[in-house]
């Protein structure tokens, strides 16, 4: 719950106040000068109304608290909240919550505001919003304006900030892992090139002294008459670094494009974290972030929190300082998740590839988000834009960064395609090295 007191209420005089006082003064002075009592009848009503409006000049001391029924929701969920407003004495109060990033107002529509007739506090006001885009969003700020009944003074203040809402990306189904190039020494889910204790068959070879008896292949030994042992590949953990493109170009589709990017990134991160891999995060674009690779449950929450912070900062249009190029672990598989709207992001991916990292890119399809062209110029502009995206994609491919298209939030086929290409390239590299 967010609570607060109006720290610095700003008092404002109604436009009528000065006019009424001036009219009353001028009229009464005119009466004394001219000596006609009828002139006083013109000014006295103004004086009476001005006096009445100034009788109660005490500030109403507004206080408010905002609460929501859920602080962590998925995209598309509705959140119910309450604003409790209190003030001293009787007053006409207007309450408004403005700046609502990442959510849309469901009720009261079209704005999250209430106009209360002359009454006394406290008053509880219910509202509903729908979480639209992922990220950690601060739910606006509560403004209030109060005026005494028939008063000519108004107090406006920013009472308190709204609560923080964490909007999680909608879960995507994904059960395939990308294969890091150099699995680490910790037991995990990826087959290592080396041989050792594991479950995946590498080869059969004759027994040599020192081999464990449990590695004997009884079938091969029985068939050949000589002892043969099974050699296996061990399963190790890997390191995956997600490079997320948070470019916001200001277009209407950029919010949904960003949401798709987040969903794909979170799907990849989650499946690798479940496989005990270390997952890191680098965000680049509207905002920047760097989370070193880590594994485990704690790392999962930290990564999710960082991802939500990135989403919130991108939605709030906060521009952070550009981050220098980070130094990634040598064994990291760099997976770029991008809409290819930013050439600088493409250059970053190419930079990591040139540094020797295994690098791939999940290109999030956003062409369906663009409205159909209305005229020939619009159609030409869209063709140009699609052409630019294709150029960026080919630039990545030429630089040794394989790409896979994530269409309609279906990330599994893209991961499978990327996995195939990366495996092929790793095999080719091994062959060249051998």
């Amino acid at each position: 719950m967010s609570t607060g007191n109006a720290t610095a209420p700003r008092g404002r005089a109604d436009p009528r106040l000065l006019a009424y006082l001036a009219a009353a003064g001028a009229s009464l002075v005119g009466t004394l000068i001219v000596g006609r009592a009828e002139l006083a009848a013109i000014g006295v009503p103004f004086a009476a109304l001005a006096l009445l409006g100034l009788v109660d000049r005490r500030p109403p001391r507004l206080r408010a608290a905002v609460a929501v029924d859920a602080h962590r929701v998925l995209e598309g969920d509705e959140v119910t909240g309450y604003v409790t407003v209190d003030w001293d004495g009787q007053a006409v109060v207007d309450v408004l919550i403005d700046r609502l990033p990442g959510v849309t107002v469901v009720e009261p529509a079209p704005a999250l505001g209430w106009s209360l007739p002359a009454t006394t506090g406290p008053v509880e006001l219910a509202f509903r919003v729908r979480a639209e885009s992922w990220g950690r969003h601060e739910l606006g700020r509560v403004h209030a304006r109060a005026r005494r009944p028939a008063g000519l003074l108004t107090w406006e203040s920013l009472i308190c900030p709204g609560p923080t809402l964490r909007v999680l990306p909608r879960p995507l189904h994904l059960d395939a892992l990308l294969k890091p190039s150099e699995p680490r020494t910790v037991a995990g889910a990826h087959l290592a090139r080396v041989r050792g204790p594991g479950t995946d068959l590498a080869e059969l070879r004759p027994y040599v002294p020192g081999d464990r008896l449990r590695d004997l292949s009884w079938a091969a030994t029985a068939r050949t008459g000589d002892p043969w042992v099974v050699v296996r590949h061990p399963e190790r953990t890997g390191t995956v670094v997600l490079l997320i493109d948070v470019t916001v170009d200001g277009s209407a589709s950029s919010t949904e494009a960003l949401a798709r990017t987040a969903r794909a990134a979170w799907a990849v991160a989650e499946v690798h974290l479940q496989a005990q891999d270390r997952v890191g995060l680098v965000a680049s674009g509207r905002t920047t972030a760097w989370l070193p690779p880590a594994s485990g449950r704690r790392a999962r929450w930290i990564l999710l929190d960082e991802l939500l912070a990135v989403g919130g900062a991108a939605q709030d249009r906060r521009v952070t300082r550009p981050m220098g190029r980070v130094s990634l672990p040598a064994d990291a598989l760099v997976v770029g998740v991008t809409t290819l709207r930013s050439p600088s992001f493409t250059r970053q991916l190419v930079h990591h590839r040139r540094k020797g990292h295994a690098t791939g890119a999940l290109v999030v399809e956003t062409t369906d988000l663009v409205a159909p062209p209305v005229d020939i110029v619009d159609a030409a502009a869209q063709r140009l834009w699609r052409g630019e995206v294709e150029v960026e994609r080919h630039r990545l491919e030429r630089s040794g960064v394989p790409t896979a298209l994530v269409a309609a939030d279906d990330v599994a086929p893209a991961i499978a395609a990327l996995r195939r290409v990366l495996a092929r390239r790793t095999g080719a590299t091994r062959a060249v090295a051998g």
Partner: protein
């Protein structure tokens, strides 16, 4: 900088139309009643100021100023009478109160116009009563132009104290508001 609460309204046409009708009727009535060039000029200025104040509530001061000028010229013209000036000034006050109510309705959230209209009615009644009392006081014996303002000022103070909302006095002693010691 515009306040975040002051947003342009979705619908307040009814109140704006009523305001315009009252303002223009006051202007036309004053010009027709006094039948003088200065009153006609002030009436035109008042009508223009009313339209201006509908667009920008800060122009209510201009509307009131032109209204006072219109009532004064209507009184000081050859055919002017005190009753006529009082009727004109009540119309000016009704217009300014309606303008303020229209401005208050200019908020994006829904607001009930009933209380606003009641407040306008109260203000008009107070204006009519105080102006009438002042006129009556002007007929009292004494130095002309002194008795009426004195009686009227005293009446205004008494009226303001009498109409003060009772709960605003009581709320300062409300036990819920006390700080714990």
């Amino acid at each position: 900088m515009m306040s975040p609460l002051t947003v342009w309204p979705p619908a307040r046409q009814g109140m704006a139309a009523a305001t315009l009708a009252v303002g223009v009727a006051t202007s036309v009535g004053a010009a027709a009643y006094a039948d003088g060039p200065w009153t006609a000029l002030a009436a035109m200025a008042h009508a223009v100021a009313t339209v201006w104040a509908l667009a920008d509530s800060r122009a209510i001061a201009t509307q009131v100023g032109t209204g006072v000028a219109m009532a004064s010229t209507a009184l000081l013209d050859v055919e002017g009478t005190a009753i006529g000036a009082v009727v004109v000034i009540v119309g000016v006050i009704a217009t300014s109160e309606l303008l303020a109510a229209t401005a208050r309705l200019g908020i994006v959230v829904a607001r009930d116009p009933g209380p606003e209209l009641r407040q306008v009615g109260t203000a008009v009644a107070i204006a009519a009563v105080t102006a009438g009392v002042t006129l009556a006081a002007g007929a009292l014996p004494g130095p002309p132009g002194v008795i009426a303002p004195a009686v009227a000022t005293l009446g205004c103070v008494v009226l303001a104290v009498a109409l003060r909302a009772p709960d605003t006095v009581a709320s300062t002693a409300h036990p819920r508001r006390r700080r714990p010691r």
